[in-house]
Symmetry: C2
Subunit: 434 residues, 2 copies
Amino acid sequence: MRPYDIILKKRNGGKLNKEEINYMVMGYVNGEIPDYQMAALLMAIYFKHMDKEERAILTEVMANSGDKIDLSPIKGIKVDKHSTGGVGDKTTLVVAPIVASLGIPVAKMSGRALGHTGGTIDKLESIPGFKTTLSLNEFFENVNRFGIAIVGQTANLAPADKKIYALRDATATVDEISLIASSIMSKKLAGGADAFVLDVKVGSGAFMKTFDEARELAEAMVGIAKSHNKKAVAVLTDMDEPLGKYVGNSLEVLEAINTLKGLGDSRFTELCLTLSSWMCYLAGKGNLEECKSMVKNSLESGKALEKFRDLVRAQGGNPEVVDNPDKILPISKNIIYFKANIDGYISKIDTEKVGIACNYLGAGRAKKEDNIDHSVGMKILKKLGDSVSKGEPILELYVNNSSNIETSLKLLNEAYHISSERPVLSNIIIDVVE
Amino acid sequence: MRPYDIILKKRNGGKLNKEEINYMVMGYVNGEIPDYQMAALLMAIYFKHMDKEERAILTEVMANSGDKIDLSPIKGIKVDKHSTGGVGDKTTLVVAPIVASLGIPVAKMSGRALGHTGGTIDKLESIPGFKTTLSLNEFFENVNRFGIAIVGQTANLAPADKKIYALRDATATVDEISLIASSIMSKKLAGGADAFVLDVKVGSGAFMKTFDEARELAEAMVGIAKSHNKKAVAVLTDMDEPLGKYVGNSLEVLEAINTLKGLGDSRFTELCLTLSSWMCYLAGKGNLEECKSMVKNSLESGKALEKFRDLVRAQGGNPEVVDNPDKILPISKNIIYFKANIDGYISKIDTEKVGIACNYLGAGRAKKEDNIDHSVGMKILKKLGDSVSKGEPILELYVNNSSNIETSLKLLNEAYHISSERPVLSNIIIDVVE
């Protein structure tokens, strides 16, 4: 077998078999196949794509390239949730306690902030004392004892994906559906869950800007999961504006707690209930209607909030955060405003820019090594479709010494469009792919 | 400027400007841009192509990347001929003396055997004593004194093309028209001639297998030449069977001499006269009709043959080769036959395989370092369309100890198709692109 022939085959629109995909991926990982041949193959895949079987194989090969988590010490059906990334996405902090409160084991490995999107692990670290690193034994023990544990990813999951992703990032071959879907699902498969609810974001703050792209990605990911005999549901959700009312680490934990108390933004609450219901359904707790009502009850009864308290306590955090989040969480006291420059309706938001603006305040990272300021962020006073008068505040910015306020305000100015016509708003739940 | 953005632009079908092409090519040559980014760009070009302007720029940048031959010490309009490569293509050995005999300076740098095609330099070295390496001064002096010199390429012409070609060869990005045309023309431009006659081969023994591809390449090359204010004509010629009656080094020199004596194969003679006429025309010797008759006269009068003798003598070869080629040239005495296995007409020839079969006899190289056996090759007894009886010889094979006869015969068996229907033959001259 020669790399040349495999590149040529894909370039000519051919279908690669398991032997060929394995040979290229593992040869590349082992340094036997040079990066220029892998780069050429990736660009050929960009143009000629991979079909369902090829995607399943690529995912499997990458999933098998490193550690595979064995979740069998945890009893029950393990359902994982994955979000493709957005701005203000604190969904895990609400969904995980809800489903855990219903007896579904939550053994979650989460990521850190990346690009314009935040990360669950960084958010949780806003809580004083909260430990996001547990040994695998502690992790399993916590799940079995409290029904929930959320930790950073320490295992070497899908290193082939990591190496290939770095090459894609340098060769303009990131945005191809089969490569994106295989990349996400390889890490999910290696993570060992039995079923997956995939929250595929659509819109100006998402990686997929259009419905069609997002739907294609959702179908690709669900298809890969099913090829590996895993249950999966993808929910397409709106990311044309930041999710909920807060962006930033402490501020999003605050919002999650408020939401668990039933005081959350209605669209964000709807999203959390929907995703939780699907997780509950995949865990075999009942039909979808039954799951919806269980989930609603968990939230309304305060059981989910108590599960969140268990989580915080179990991982060494100060449980008082549940009762007095604004006192316990580090939140900057320095507030400035981003204001409307004309009268009208907020008609369009370049949400990716809002995410980057938040990073400039200190909430995210430009490089992996950068520190995060948990105390900064923004409170959203006016949402998409709201009317504003000239000079009226749209955002409350929580800033600090490290904040690059000017750049941030410049980006927000570019991000927010105000017009005389009220825009048509999308539902938060756009579509479901089963 | 970032390589990433340039790859992305081309991937999305954009048009690269001079700054961008120069940055990528020279950055790659200087080692500043890694090969995986160049590989990704090449694959993007494979799918999205380059337009006329981009091709002209790429050609120029590559031509300027190394030595450029200054032919100004040679008086007159310098017309170069280039063939895209075929099997049995000894055209230069006939065309060069014809046009030189008409007072057009022939300062020719030629190549060696490559892949399934032969090389003029290897063929000339069949003549005992013939030196294919001259200093630049000797080269110019010979052209000014005898009107003709043919040497191997020693200058470092278009090293960027060389480096990029090697990468294309490893990444399945060779067969794209703009890249092929720019590659050829960059070396031609660096070679310093004023005008070019491009012999674009079409068919089973050519790199371009179909008329459409060949026509596109011809137009691309003529377009590039014109963009650089050079005159150019491309002649599309048939390569569905080996050219003439001989393949191999000594044997092709023998055939060239016979042709210069007026005893050549009629189709091959027609090709030589046509290409010579166009060279004569581009050199400004008259209109095409006038040039045709001058060229014919040169051949018929024996002037071209005498010019060939001058060439051999001037470069240290034994001039008696002209009178007694079969005595002077090393030609093996060991002959075996490739015979027809059924009755019928020779209906189709996979000419590339015939070229490779000839290499297995020892006439070509598998690697650059391999030695060539000048004495081996084949005489073609039956051409395309000829009728044969079972057991009748099609080819006379001149073999030697080094010959891998079995492999050669196996390839010839695959290459020659005999059927009950007489095939429709193409003219040797298929089309002209001015």
